[in-house]
């Protein structure tokens, strides 16, 4: 089981990692500042395998890949949100940060709840409340990148054309 860290809607990339900390690309360094202004307890308290849960439009704003890199660097297992901003969605898939889109889970999980996530099936269990949720499946095209562990890993072994095959 892991702890859920709950965030609100329209959480932007400046709130995930302010631009002034983006001069490094080191995931561990970025992780020290992740959510530092809106949830200062997050970085010191997060444990490997914890889950970030948020309301609609998670990751809106800039295209900075530092945002998903910082979250993954903190050891977060996956991000569950009611919806994602498009660049963040793409970036998360590309760098191998698992994401699940599930408005019901976003509404049904509170900060500090204990959750389990079955990433392969997209099932989210809220152990604190005894509820479970089914996330939307990823499109096949995107799933191929996610399953390779991200775009870099995918392209080491494959050509981009294989995505549409």
């Amino acid at each position: 089981m892991s702890r859920a860290w709950k965030f609100g809607e329209n959480l932007n990339t400046d709130e995930i990692i302010p631009a002034r900390f983006n001069l490094t690309i080191d995931p561990q360094e970025l992780a020290k500042k992740v959510f530092c202004e809106i949830y200062p307890e997050f970085a010191p308290g997060v444990q490997p395998g914890d889950v970030v849960v948020a309301d609609a439009n998670f990751g809106c704003g800039s295209s900075r890949e530092h945002a998903p890199v910082a979250i993954r660097g903190a050891g977060v297992k996956c991000v569950i949100a009611a919806s994602f901003a498009r660049i963040f969605f793409r970036n998360a898939i590309n760098i191998g940060l698992p994401i699940l889109e599930c408005p019901e889970a976003a509404a049904g999980i509170s900060d500090g709840d204990q959750v389990d996530v079955d990433l392969s099936k997209g099932i989210i269990y809220n152990r604190t409340r005894g509820t479970q949720f089914q996330a939307a499946p990823l499109p096949d095209f995107v799933l191929k990148i996610a399953e390779a562990g991200g775009l870099v890993n995918f392209l080491k072994e494959h050509d981009l054309e294989e995505l549409s095959a």
Binding site: R20, S63, R64, N94
Partner: protein
Amino acid sequence: MGTLVEEIFSRRLGREVRAGEIVLVDVDAIMSHDNTTPLAIKAFSEIGKPIRDTSKIVIHFDHAYPAPNQLAAENQQKIVKFIRQQGIDNFYHRGVCHQVMIEEGFIRPGGIVIGGDSHTVTYGALGCFATGLGSSEIGASWITGKTWFKVPETILVRLEGQAPAGVYSKDVMLALAGQLGMDGATYKSLEFAGSYIDNLPAHQRIVFSNMSVELGAKCGLIAPDQVTLDYLVNETKAQPPFEQFTAVNPVYERVITLDVSQLQPMVACHPDVDNVKPLSEVSGLEIDQVYLGTCTNARYEDLEIAAGILKGRQVSRFTRTLVTPASQTIYEKALANGLIQIFLDSGCTVNAPGCGACIGRHGGILAPAERAFTTMNRNFIGRMGSPEAEIYLGSPAAAAATAIEGRIADPRPYLV
């Protein structure tokens, strides 16, 4: 056939493409800057394959330029080394990347351009499909020369009528942001049309496309017309002939119509872009810093509007007023035509072209409890420095009036 975005992809692929389809396309240019290039180089190096066509790669230094600290300097040093090693010709430090992309001729109607920056959508105003991607995809597309897209559904924004004096495209776009909300167009193409757009000069059209990402959009398109072609010929290095096209029998997901003749100057208030109010509701609020800059509103005509208001006047003693032309080209023209002298005479500080203050890097960082009025596109918490500072967004005219009064002020009394 179809919406503008369907038309662009159909032309590129030589077959009819519809919203919902996933397509793999060649891109015309791959843009990145000093903030997003380091992670792109990392991804590129890890994939370990060669660059397909260096002429498509365009790298800008603008986010922290000139380097405000040693870490930024070292980043830029690494990027320069990469540019030299790979023989990349398109390397610029002439101002904000999006303005320079347009000026240097990389943007054409019917084009497909990707950039490691969310405001890459700016180029849609010239009929070019353009969108922001993360660094890994930038590095990957250096190798593949292409990328994939899900062709988006389109929301048509029909803007009709003539805007009253003192109401600019920024005010109209803010009104729209207030109406649609920050996720009102997520994953969608926004298409801007109507009599207001038809009669609008290109530099003001750019504001709509630039800010379309603030509503979550994948792109913000305007059909290329004579205004577009004249702008490309007169203001950019792009070489004709240019494609001209419109939406043909388009099917829109939604149509939103706005009568701009009823609008007044608008302000996006702390802390969200969609927290939009008529300026009159927040006028009088004390302002510590005015910032006239960024890819949204620091083009020559924006500076001209502000200078027209500031001429012969002084900015308020306790309101730092920063003017940052979007590019060197704009700076030169503003210098030649006396605008820079007007800014200096009125007590403004003129900065080198770049993005610094907009992202809280340098050249205008806010202290806790300070309040800024800017021509930017975002007012996120902590964007310009302290998370306890507040940012308000408005037009260049409103920024100039606010600078003079030291409080949020209506520009209209200054326009007579």
